[in-house]
């Protein structure tokens, strides 16, 4: 029982990070069919901005996260307008190569600037230690992640359901040509969605810095997890990746907790099996 | 007589949308049959159901009397079912001759050969080249398909399908996108198809339809409205209303 609660709790915190980082990738794939392997770079950039601001300039955690969100969203939209946009409609291989190029460059840059080892994370005092939630006490930081994650997700889903931007976005993912014919500027829409998705990834990178270590290998080591969330959730969906993130979060935590000697092996095997059963993902359109 | 192709109660729905509704359809050997109907009537969907590109929700498909409903696309093709596409679906980077020879090679059953000598392939190449001559595109045998004008690409579409030597040929708007000056070539080609092939043509060009077809089926909103000779169709009030009345392109 104790173990089960532990797994659910840690798994949930992990799932939040996975979802917040990956959801933007699902939208870019669904909207423009762009295979953006460099999506993890934006999360890594967010992580570095957050941690460096806190460590070197004593910026408060919340403010550092906000700066990371805004800075990475802006950076991403510049990249989108100047480089990504040239490859819309290009082959999958071109998109893959281009984004691998970005990964290699960004890895070299952060290694040059801040060295190869993981960045130490000094959480604010309120977030360290344990918090008593009645049943038992839980680590405060992870409780905070779950709460903030749920708030962000609620905000995101409400935004996509209720706002005009969200309605346009859903229409464009559903049928781009139709959306364009009724006067939706999909180019602008996509830039906005791209910026938002990248900003969220940055937020995920910063929030999760104590779970997914911020180091130069970030964008490649966790890439397979981010892609899994999207592939299993189903492209272009908001809820699908959330379910996938939960599965992955619980599964990975359970495996590492119960059979540490087999590590991530089971999780990969289970995910591969899942796709064998449903190649288009859980909520994907075949 | 066994039909070359027959569908029995063919049914397909996407969610609440019914795109093929209880379609009973028969194509005899040597038939020259046209399928017409306004846009969105489900004509291409019917072709995709027959060729196995999408699975039906209910109903059966018989090819030469054999039930092929559960067979994969490739097997149906090997049993004699050939098609062209409404939108050119070609090997754009390859030359015209190579395009056709891929089909001829598959028909000869050597598409998977790894180590066969070139001499064996010469037969395939000659077969493919003869087809190009028949369709009068042999001058472009070595031209990459993507460099051809659209009208000539339409001919490659047909050449590939003929390379399979089908017994049933489904032509999905063969003249779509072809400049009017070049439609005559396509018409000639269709008229000269061997008599033993059963041909189903989907077409919006009524001149072409009435010149070519001996029977016509009108499809409206996924259902067969009427089937008959060209004269019967032209005289039918309902057809005029739902189709001809709106002009050729619905």
């Amino acid at each position: 029982m104790e173990a089960l609660i532990s797994i659910l709790f840690h798994g949930l915190a992990y799932a939040m990070i996975l979802y917040i980082v990956s959801v933007g990738l699902s939208v870019t794939m669904g909207l423009m069919g762009f295979v953006n392997l460099a999506h993890g770079v934006f999360a890594m950039a967010g992580g570095y901005v957050t941690v460096r601001l806190m460590n070197a300039y004593a910026v408060p955690f919340g403010l550092a996260l906000l700066v990371a969100f805004v800075a990475v969203a802006l950076l991403s939209v510049v990249l989108e307008r100047t480089l990504y946009a040239r490859l819309y409609g290009a082959g999958e291989l071109e998109q893959v190569l281009f984004t691998i190029g970005l990964i290699f460059m960004s890895v070299a840059i952060v290694r040059y600037l801040w060295g190869p080892s993981p960045q130490p994370v000094h959480l604010p005092a309120v977030l360290s230690g344990q918090i008593d939630l009645g049943i038992r006490s839980f680590p405060t930081y992870r409780t905070f992640l779950i709460v903030v994650g749920l708030l962000l997700i609620a905000l995101l889903w409400l935004g996509v359901e209720r706002t005009n931007f969200g309605a346009q976005l859903r229409a464009a993912v559903d049928n781009r040509r139709m959306a364009e014919s009724i006067g939706i500027d999909t180019r602008r829409l996509f830039s906005l969605a791209f910026a938002l998705g990248s900003g969220l990834a940055a937020l995920g990178g910063g929030l999760g810095a104590d779970i997914l270590a911020i180091y130069p290998g970030y964008a490649t080591e966790y890439l397979v997890y981010f892609l899994m969330v999207v592939a299993i959730g189903g492209l272009g969906s908001l809820r699908g990746p959330f379910v996938a993130a939960l599965l992955l979060g619980f599964g990975d935590t359970a495996c590492k907790y119960l059979v540490p000697e087999l590590g991530a092996f089971f999780v990969f095997a289970a995910m591969i099996g899942l796709l064998l059963w449903r190649p288009a993902g859980l909520f994907g359109r075949a | 007589m066994t039909a070359a192709l027959e569908t029995i109660g063919l049914h397909k729905r996407f969610g609440a949308l019914i795109v093929a509704n209880d379609i009973h359809f028969r194509l005899d050997a040597g038939a020259r049959h046209a399928l017409i109907g306004p846009n969105g009537a489900g004509k291409t969907t019917l072709v995709n159901l027959i060729t196995g590109r999408i699975p039906p929700s209910a109903g059966r498909i018989l090819l030469g009397g054999d039930d092929i409903t559960a067979l994969p696309q490739a097997v149906r093709v090997r049993r004699g079912l050939g098609r062209t596409f409404q939108i050119n679906t070609l090997f754009r980077g390859l030359s015209v001759l190579e395009n056709v020879c891929l089909a001829v090679g598959e028909h000869h059953g050597i598409g998977g050969d790894m180590l066969r000598s070139l001499a064996a392939r010469r037969a395939v190449l000659e077969g493919g080249y003869a087809l190009l001559e028949r369709l009068r595109i042999a001058d472009d045998a070595l031209t990459p398909v993507r460099e051809l004008p659209y009208g000539r690409q339409r001919l490659v579409e047909i050449a590939i399908a003929l390379g399979l030597r089908p017994t049933v040929l489904l032509l999905d708007e063969p003249a779509a996108g072809v400049p009017s000056t070049e439609i005559a070539i396509i018409l000639d080609v269709i008229e000269q198809l061997p008599d033993d092939i059963a041909v189903l043509i989907i077409e919006h060009d009524m001149e072409l339809v009435f010149r070519f077809a001996r029977r016509i089926t009108v499809l409206v909103q996924g259902s067969v409205l009427i089937e008959g000779t060209p004269a019967e169709i032209a005289a039918d009030a309902r057809v005029r209303e739902v189709y001809l009345g709106e002009g050729h392109h619905g």
Partner: protein, 318 residues
Amino acid sequence: MHPIDTLLARHRFRAIELLPWLIAVAVYFVFGDYLPLGSQILIMILFALSLDLVLGYAGIVTLGHSAFFGVGAYAAGIYAAHVSGEPLSGLVLAACAAAVVGWLSGLVVLRTTGLTLLMLTLAVTALLAEAANKAGFITGGADGLQGMDIRPIFGLFRFDLFGRTAYLYCLAVLFLAWLFARRLVHSSFGRSLIGIRENTARMHAIGSPVRRRLLTIYTISAALAGVAGALLAQTTQFVGLTVLGFQRSGEIVIMLVFGGIGRLYGAFVGAGIYMIAQDQLAKLEPAFWYFWIGLLLVLLVMFARGGVLGLIDRILRR
């Protein structure tokens, strides 16, 4: 000339195809000090060649080809360390092991396309890397696999300190693999792979068993990649976890694309230039190496999609 003959002539052997082999033999006599690097290059050429079959010809965009390289390396390494140091049987074993893994993973991977396919190729590699890491009792885990004693080839040619035997051994294996691959891509089967790359929907519509063809080439390619891995294990007598890394998968794609994909010789040009440049430049500042490679890749995609051989083609056509 009749178009049929022109087309047939394209598949005939041309003198320029001898060039890589002349260079490889010349290197043996002229650059005797660089033979260990030379062996590495030959191995990477073989690896890139195997990738060209799936990526360049069949159009399967994979980021997990190191899975098969790694399986081959570990199979040959473990065989040499625990069973027998006889090299040729080690090669055969590695090819078989990689082929089995290729076939099994292909069954899953090739059912999908696009991002899901990419993710699965990464996942298969990550799964194998995790397995190799955890099975330290047989693979050496993070410390790497050591203690191989490779016996002389045919019992005659001993692996020497200067890497002469190793170089000629790799060259001979690469030559045989090239003969096989060349035959394959010029066969009807090879042409049908190009058809699948160019238009999968049409291949279905002409009655081609698309998935079976893809699975076949995926398995063959895996076997060749496994042989490349085995050569690395046998010639360096060491296998580390990096053989299964993302880096290696990414790099081999880059080498191939840099040389030119779907051309058979892109592997030779790309792997050759990349390995030599890395040997010379990475010594100066290894961190920057990947920056420049990344930049080169971005520029390549934007301006020179055919790679080096594509550029040469364009210049010659002017």
